[in-house]
Subunit: 223 residues, 2 copies
DNA sequence: TCAAAAGTGTTCATGATACACCCATGT
DNA sequence: ACATGGGTGTATCATGAACACTTTTGA
């Protein structure tokens, strides 16, 4: 069809990483501003071609550490987009991942190769390059579904947190309010979190701090 | 690392299709016997490289029609396997799909390029090539999870079927018996199936025939 | 008349939902 | 003393689980 898609015996393989974090009461995505032509001024999810000696997952981790300076985050394969004409540069098959990082320690790395790199609220996205609008909405869908039956929110919270913090994360992702008593009853009944040492003071009554029992993916019925 | 993995600027992209069907009270997978060297005599899921002008999904459908003579089946992307050394022939990134086909009309196509092509019960698999043991168990896991909250079993049944047929499909996939009354109550309460015209006679009391309300993927809580 | 699968309701246990007040702290 | 978020229990409702007998047909 297109000239460029005939050019390679094999398609190019890339990864795209949808990085989510919660900040200022909002769910945000990390985006990079494009400098090159057909998408100049558009924004894209961090990504790039894989190297011949790295696995897909290694490539995704490399993107995370190169573009956002992040290691040890929750990372899950999302979907592989393989339409013929999705990339104007040629035939690129791209595997999307999504990553969750805690609100603390959000340090995007700017580089000369790309324009700006910034966080955007998911309800307020800029013009997106490629099929990245689809990629992000697919990631949002998956995230919303998976917080209901796995412990992946551990990726969005700091090591210690209050039950109110945890509840807020759920409310933000699901875009709806939850009942405080029912939420706490449920969470405390399923061995998801355990009390941490101290309490956190604020301007008001200090709250008990908790941490996750396991900081590794597992399946639990939560909602 | 390996010589062959350095040879291409881009990895090769392939698809593998795990084809499930139910036959003779068993869940079966379609496998092809390998003729070429390192895996001679081993069996593999149907698959192959994509062409430069077809999407991943088109490639998967092409495999289905070439290897099994099948069209219009339920097909879902499963996972993309991107380890560096998963294929001894070189760097191949492979997207696995899984397909569901009704027990009727199982007509595997033999070809000169491959050895035998046959159905195997999933509890009784032969020696498998590549990482196809993983691929199949991943597909089984997904299938078992998804029949609980979607209508995908429509892909495994003929156009008309009895409620007992439907229940058997669930029992086979989940490897456990279900209560007949509870199963029927649930199924009939969720607008999944509707009565079809006739009844089916057998050696015994004839059963009411049903068909699916929608023959297209959708989400419904079933179990 | 017998064998084999079809069909049908009720009870009980469990989990989900709805709901309102007092507490501890900093200012 | 007041404003702010932290923390707690009960009653009701809906859903899932367990369970056994009668019916229809062909042989």
């Amino acid at each position: 069809m297109k000239k460029s898609s005939q050019k390679y015996k094999f398609a190019a393989v890339a990864v795209d990483v949808v990085v989510f974090s919660i900040d200022n009461g909002e769910l945000k995505v990390l985006l990079i501003e494009m400098k090159k032509k057909p998408y100049m001024g558009f924004w894209a999810v961090p990504g790039g071609l894989i190297k011949s000696d790295e696995s897909l997952e290694q490539a995704a981790k490399r993107q995370l550490s190169a573009k956002a300076g992040l290691k040890n985050v929750y990372l899950e394969q999302l979907y592989t987009f393989g339409e013929v004409n999705r990339d104007p540069f040629g035939r690129v098959v791209s595997t999307a991942y999504f990553a969750l990082i805690p609100s603390t320690g959000i340090k995007p790395k700017t580089s000369r190769e790309y324009g700006d790199i910034r966080w955007f609220g998911v309800k307020n996205l800029p013009r997106l390059a490629y099929d990245h609008k689809n990629v992000i909405s697919y990631a949002l869908e998956r995230l919303g579904a998976k917080i209901g039956y796995t412990n992946i929110v551990y990726g969005l919270l700091p090591r210690e947190f209050t039950l109110s913090d945890l509840q807020k994360v759920y409310e933000i992702i699901l875009s709806k309010k939850l009942d405080k008593r029912n939420f706490r009853k449920k969470v405390l009944s399923i061995n998801l979190v355990k009390p941490a040492s101290a309490k956190r003071g604020g301007a008001h009554r200090p709250a008990r701090l908790y941490k996750f029992v396991k900081n590794r993916y597992h399946v639990v019925e939560i909602l």
